[in-house]
């Protein structure tokens, strides 16, 4: 009896100290990012954004007094690799997983983090990511279902287009976007004059651009990944395309401007995040990023950075480092810039993991993104 009591106390003490130990020491956060392959631009930028945030957070004391230990692994933009690495992250006891960015990869890898009940942030924008009933997936950018209606409205009201040609990339991201924009255009009474599919990694855009010209649409909507967008813009310029070219964040990103050169000028895009936004905390981020990495961040850098600060904000709200409690608290969470400038814009998360924020209409002028309009969130954020 005495032994049993003593043993029970010993076991409880051990458990308590192990629990206590789990509440000390560095917080493991793992990044699954595309550092090579067609997604190299997006993944590298996302990773750099996260790293910058981690550095700042650690410098100011970490989260709940604990430093963050962040490591990132290359998924090579291959879903199979992303899935396997997600398993590895689970094995290593990650608190939160950041990435992958590409929709095609996160769709596959999130099965692992979901099974292990570990919160997983992604830069992916395909609508179906948050339609699978996964309570552990959280976005760092808009879902296409939110973004596309805004684009369609712009095309109707400002461009006054009655028909639009849609050029999209044949992957999860592109297909989701094409479905969403088609729906949104139809809702605004705009005809889809041409549906032009292109491939990930496609190099030659002479055929697609020709089809766009032949469709005689009033405008062209381009929805491809970064490198392909640059090539498309170059080909459009080469073939002398003179109608408005409209897109989403991937059309006018920093890297795209760098790769496309002059050909990017005049392109308009609806972007959820841009370093050229007028807000002071975004300007501060722009400077810090450039200082750290010697180049201008694109939206993926902002996704990673703001995502990391969301992790900080919500963990502090919960009061402890607990993956399940974190996920629960994320649904319905509102984080304001005045409390946590690192999130870059006031943001609200719904129960599916989607976020609501302001967004911007951007035009490329002389090789720079210029914000022409700020669009409000769907529901006011308080």
């Amino acid at each position: 009896m005495k032994h049993a009591l003593r043993n029970t106390v010993a076991v409880l003490a051990l458990a308590a100290s192990t629990y206590g130990l789990a509440q000390q020491g560095p917080i493991q956060i793992i990044g699954l990012v595309e550092l090579s392959g067609t997604g190299a631009t997006a993944g590298t930028n996302f990773d750099n954004g996260v790293k910058l945030a981690v550095k700042e957070i650690n410098a100011s004391g970490g989260i709940l007094g604990r430093k963050i230990e962040y490591q990132s692994w290359d998924t090579q933009t291959a879903p199979q690799t992303a899935k396997a690495l997600a398993q590895k992250a689970v094995d290593q006891g990650a608190y939160v997983v950041m990435g992958p960015v590409f929709s095609g990869s996160i769709i596959v890898s999130m099965a692992e983090t979901r099974r292990a009940e570990i919160p997983n942030f992604t830069g992916g924008e395909a609508a179906n990511i948050t339609e699978q009933g996964n309570p552990y997936i959280f976005r760092t950018s808009f879902t296409q279902a939110t973004a596309m209606p805004k684009v369609a409205r712009y095309l109707k009201d400002q461009v006054k287009a009655r028909s639009v040609a849609v050029m999209w990339v044949n992957n999860d991201f592109g297909k989701g976007g094409r479905d969403a924009i088609t729906k949104a255009l139809n809702a605004e009474g705009i005809k889809v004059a041409a549906d032009i599919s292109t491939d990930p990694g496609q190099v030659d855009f002479s055929g697609p651009v020709l089809k766009a010209k032949q469709s005689n649409a009033d405008a062209l909507f381009v929805y491809t990944n970064e490198e392909e967008s640059a090539r498309a813009l170059r080909e459009l310029k080469k073939q002398g395309y003179d109608k408005p070219i409209v897109g989403e964040t991937t059309l006018t990103g920093q890297k795209v401007i760098e790769l496309a050169g002059d050909a990017a000028n005049g392109a308009v895009a609806h972007v959820g995040l841009t370093v050229d936004a007028p807000q002071p905390q975004i300007k501060a981020f722009d400077e810090k990023f450039q200082k750290a990495y010697n180049y201008k961040s694109d939206h993926n850098g902002m996704k990673g950075y703001s995502g990391m600060y969301v992790v900080k904000a919500v963990t502090e709200k919960v009061g402890k480092v607990d993956p399940k409690a974190f996920a629960k608290a994320m649904h319905g969470a509102t984080i304001l810039v005045k409390d946590q400038p690192g999130v870059l814009l006031d943001v609200h998360f719904d129960d599916k993991g989607d976020l609501d924020r302001e967004s911007f209409l951007v035009k490329v002028v002389n090789g720079k993104q210029v914000v022409t309009t700020t669009l409000p969130p769907l529901n006011p954020i308080k």
Binding site: S36, D74, A78, P79, Q80, K83, A84, L85, Q87, K88, V90, D91, G104, I107, V108, N170, N171, D172, K175, D199, P200
Partner: protein, 318 residues
């Protein structure tokens, strides 16, 4: 006789058994990612064993093994999701790859030696394109997710460890089958082919038929591997069967030691496991690997296992 087709001496047998036992016990100490890698090695090995038969024993160059890997995998994905039992799907995939291998090899071999290489290259690219474009059948670029794992005699193989042992046992069975084929009269004919096709022809051996058979068997092995791949990862997409995968498989065979029975094992370890252990080297690993292949071709064209020959006193013929 060297370790290639003939028997093994006692120390080699013991080393083999110890190695097999160690590989069987190791996963017990690893977490799911480590077990995944060890299982992936077994699966990859199935395809590479098949390729060694084609390249090393029949002396042909094939740059399309990943296509058969993929055909097997897609068969598995589609049929398993329709509810077909695993042990019906496995032979179907094997037979399909065997038949396609015959169909591909027959016209290509009629012509000339290195044209099989070109035909396999073209075939791989074609298969990849079909996988990527025919969305209705193959899921296109999105691939096929949620492929179910089989259950063996009512025992589910969903877990990492159970599936590992299943795959491990399977690859051993496959290796034994190949070993038996190579030691049979047919197998000895393969050896004759590789060493001197003209002389073999003059003794009445129908080269084309044997080469074709070797090619088809090698393709079937890859098909089997593909079925296991689909059930291991529970997800397949065209990128896993790209031409570059075929090239790596070829290099795995050559680097390990083409024509040596355990060459594929060495090669597969270098391609699958070493990059993981040397992860800190990241991209430099593959750069080193590429240049190492060149150096090896100059100094050690028989592959890594040919180092063993240097220590043998018998010094048998290559």
């Amino acid at each position: 006789m060297s370790a290639k087709g003939g028997g093994m001496n006692k120390p080699q047998r013991i080393a083999l058994l110890v190695g097999l036992a160690a590989y069987a016990i190791l996963p017990l100490f690893l977490k799911s990612y480590g077990i995944y890698l060890m299982t992936l090695l077994c699966v990859y090995l199935m395809a590479v064993f098949g390729l060694n038969l084609i390249v090393g024993y029949a002396g042909q160059m094939s740059i399309g093994q990943a296509a058969f890997y993929g055909i097997g995998a897609y068969h598995a994905a589609i049929l398993l999701k329709l509810g077909w039992p695993f042990f019906a799907v496995l032979p179907i995939a094997a037979v399909a790859c065997f038949a396609i291998g015959l169909a591909l090899g027959f016209p290509a071999l009629r012509v000339q030696h290195h044209y099989l290489a070109f035909a396999t290259l073209g075939f791989n690219v074609l298969v990849y394109l079909v996988m990527r474009n025919e969305e209705a059948l193959t899921g296109g670029t999105f691939g096929i997710p949620n492929i179910p794992r089989p259950s063996l005699l009512g025992y589910s193989l969903d877990g990492a460890l159970p599936f590992f042992y299943f795959a491990y046992a399977s690859v051993i069975v496959l290796a034994l089958v190949l070993w038996w084929i190579l030691r049979s009269p047919w197998g000895r004919a393969f050896a004759a082919l590789r060493d001197n096709p003209i002389r073999a022809e003059s003794t009445g051996v129908n080269i084309t038929a044997y080469t074709l058979l070797a090619f088809a068997i090698g393709a079937a092995c890859a098909g089997v591997g593909g079925v296991y791949l689909a059930t291991l990862v529970n997800f397949i997409e065209p990128g896993q069967f790209h031409l570059s995968v075929s090239l790596m498989m070829l290099l795995a065979v050559i680097v390990g030691g083409s024509g040596r029975f355990f060459g594929p094992v060495v090669g597969a370890v270098i391609v699958i496991l070493l990059p993981e252990w040397l992860r800190f080297l990241q991209d430099w690993y593959l750069a080193i690997f590429g240049f190492a292949v060149i150096v090896m071709m100059v100094f050690l064209p028989g592959g890594l296992l040919s180092i063993a020959d240097r220590f043998k006193t018998s010094g048998g013929a290559k």
